[in-house]
């Protein structure tokens, strides 16, 4: 059964005898429409909620709020704290995962017995669910009484640290980095494997030792893959939630509250839907600003290589 669009396309193809001139746009519409609705409906609803008074604890307080929600939010110091926390979290994890990932990739590109198993083990944390890995870190690694680190510390005669209350942000960064280093490692390892071996040999003859080889030959070769890693990781890291929810619940105080956790706590702990929606809109804007810069740099890098 032919749709009107496809018959029209077929007719024009017969007329021009050139299939390349078929108007293919109608065929794209179904998926474009679905994707558009998928994006625009939640966004429109969020925008709508952000300009009305909508608190689940106080059903009588309704009506148009104008920019009141935004005003409260922008005056709320917790917004700025959480934005700063988001940047610290994203920035640190990006740096750690790219640096450690690149070093591991170089290391695991060398030949040694059991290399495949070792590689598998490095990649493994990526397949652990965020909630599970957060629980493992909370209860088995960093727990001040039962944790492995505490055991290690007392074995060395030190006083065990209560990581999540003394260094909450550091602990979160540790957990999230542990999850994302494998991703960077995987991408960068495949990139290193594509490095021309004759190029490395030429550099050896030119007198490059391991350090010079890494900085002059390997790192420039990885540039493109590193930008891909940074872009993909940023998208996911801006929305980190489970690790915080499971371990610190944003605390102590606001020490580990990032933007997505703030929105959750306002919307689903304080039940202020309007306020939370305003936070959501701000998060979308922030994410888009980051995305613009990232995509620009990445596409420039892509073209250069």
């Amino acid at each position: 059964m032919a749709t009107p669009a496809s018959t029209a396309a077929a007719n024009s193809a017969v007329k021009t005898k050139n299939t390349r001139k078929v108007d293919t746009r109608p065929f794209l519409w179904p998926s474009v429409i679905v994707l558009f609705l998928w994006m625009i409906v939640p966004l429109a609803m969020t925008l709508y909620y952000s300009v009305i008074n909508y608190n689940l604890l106080d059903p009588s307080f309704t009506g148009f709020a104008g920019l009141e929600n935004y005003k409260f939010l922008l005056e709320d110091p917790s917004l700025w704290t959480s934005m700063w926390n988001t940047l610290v979290l994203v920035g640190s994890v990006l740096i750690i995962s790219v640096v450690v990932g690149a070093l591991l990739a170089v290391l695991y590109n060398a030949r040694f017995p059991g290399r495949n198993i070792a590689r598998l083990l490095v990649i493994a944390p990526f397949f652990v669910m965020p909630t599970v890995s957060a629980l493992i870190w909370k209860n088995m690694m960093l727990h001040p009484v039962n944790g492995f680190v505490a055991w290690l510390q007392s074995a060395l005669g030190m006083v065990p640290t209560d990581w999540f209350s003394q260094y909450p942000m550091l602990s979160i960064i540790l957990i999230v980095s542990w999850q994302w280093v494998p991703f960077a490692f995987l991408i960068l390892l495949t990139a290193i494997q594509s490095l021309d071996s004759e190029q490395q040999e030429a550099a050896r003859i030119d007198g490059a030792g391991p350090v010079a080889m890494f900085f002059y030959i390997v790192l420039p070769h990885l540039q493109r893959s590193i930008s891909v890693v940074i872009m993909i990781e940023s998208i996911f890291l801006l929305a980190i939630f489970a690790e915080i929810y499971v371990t610190t619940s944003g605390g102590p105080g606001l020490a580990t509250t990032n933007l997505s956790y703030l929105i959750y706590s306002v919307g689903l702990l304080q039940f202020d839907v309007g306020y939370a929606s305003a936070g959501g809109v701000i998060a979308v804007i922030l994410a888009n600003i980051v995305a613009i810069f990232l995509i620009r740099t990445v596409s420039r890098n892509m073209q250069k290589a």
Binding site: E198, E201, D206, A208, Q223, A305
Partner: protein, 376 residues
């Protein structure tokens, strides 16, 4: 100053021995070419000289120093790779100056040396480009420039021309030969192309299966191959091999039978040969005389005629079914299915015994031991 001496060099990967003991003396300023079929170990041998492959056993001396345990950078060599192996993120200038930069030479010194190499190779206008913006021939030149800048004692080339098209290959061949003349450096060059070997080398080393089959000047290998492999590998078109038996043996002459009943008496030492032995008679297509004559004659039916203008290649089937090819005059009017008579001259014939070794010829070719240049 920069002799390269290999003493019983061996290379094994686990239980597999790929280089089975190579002894070789490459003289200072010599252009030495390793040639052989793929898998013969020629590239491995070059990479061992470069220091990119470990030497399993044996001694390697470059310029009087044993270099077995020196790193590639300390051996005083530089190498031009088949894929050029330029650094894609660096400009031509940075590519050429990279080794000097790593050696922490002052910037003006690097600039001076790079400029000089660029001038010699006519790369001046390209110095600020990236390798991706260069043509194949230009990349090749940059790779050579990068080698020159290091001012090495020995240049190593690993099939440098095999990625170029035919016309460019001939041009670069001439340039490299010219470069060898100008720099007076020792050069070791690996190729599978026997034409490159014949045209450029002072000394050709023919390798097969990890052992040296023969070392000699191009004409030495052409006129006096020591065995059937070298005889078949060098020269184009390939030498004809005819199965035969020895009819008569004298001290300095062995007479062998020809297909069709004739004989030819070849001036070679008899060694262990005796009447009735199975031998192979070798004769190059360009040494066959159209129309017969010479010291022996065969005739056959023409199967294929290839007219090249300057010469004509004729493939024919002899009376006993063996095939033969001959390079005859370009103006010959011979046609397919004609009967052709081919004459053999006794001094251009080779006799190989059943184990493939050549019976040594009595007379050396006058040019076989002469070098190419005045300086050598």
């Amino acid at each position: 100053m920069a002799e390269v001496i290999l003493k019983n060099i061996k290379k094994s990967y686990g239980d597999v021995q790929v280089i089975k003991g190579v002894d070789l003396h490459i003289k200072d300023k010599e252009f030495c070419i390793f040639v052989g079929p793929s898998g013969c170990g020629k590239s491995t041998l070059l990479r061992m000289i470069a220091g990119l492959e470990e030497i399993t056993s044996g001694e390697l001396h470059i310029g009087g120093t044993q270099v077995n345990d020196l790193s590639p950078a300390d051996r005083g060599i530089s190498m031009v790779f088949q894929s050029y192996a330029l650094y894609p993120h660096m400009s031509v200038r940075e590519n050429m100056g990279f080794s000097l930069k790593l050696a922490k030479q002052p910037a003006e010194e690097i600039k001076r040396k790079v400029d000089e190499a660029a001038r010699i190779l006519k790369l001046d206008p390209l110095l600020d480009r990236k390798p991706a913006e260069l043509s194949g021939g230009q990349r090749q030149r940059v790779a050579i420039g990068r080698a020159i800048v290091r001012n090495p004692k020995v240049f190593l080339f690993d099939e440098p021309l095999s990625n170029l098209d035919a016309a460019l290959r001939v041009q670069m061949r001439i340039e490299i030969a010219r470069m060898h003349h100008d720099f007076d450096a020792t050069m070791i060059y690996v190729t599978h192309d026997q034409v490159e070997a014949m045209t450029m080398a002072d000394k050709i080393v023919v390798l097969q299966g990890g052992v040296i089959e023969q070392v000699g000047s191009p004409l030495d290998l052409y006129h006096h191959p020591v065995n059937k492999f070298v005889a078949g590998f060098m020269g184009s078109p390939n030498m004809n091999f005819l199965e035969s038996t020895i009819k008569q043996v004298e001290d300095e002459c062995v007479t062998v039978g020809l297909p069709g009943g004739g004989t030819v008496s070849v001036p070679v030492k008899r060694e262990q040969a005796s009447v009735g032995d199975k031998v192979t008679l070798g004769v190059r297509p360009e040494h066959l005389l159209e129309g017969g004559g010479g010291d022996g004659e065969v005739s056959g039916k023409v199967l294929v005629v290839e007219r090249l203008g300057g010469g004509t290649l004729v493939y024919a089937s002899l009376e006993d079914g063996q095939s033969i090819s001959a390079q005859i005059d370009g103006n010959s009017s011979i046609k397919v299915d004609d009967t052709i008579k081919l004459g053999l001259r006794n001094e251009t014939c080779h006799v190989f015994t059943a184990d493939g070794l050549a019976l040594p010829q009595i007379d050396r070719h006058p040019l076989a031991d002469v070098g190419r240049g005045s300086g050598h």
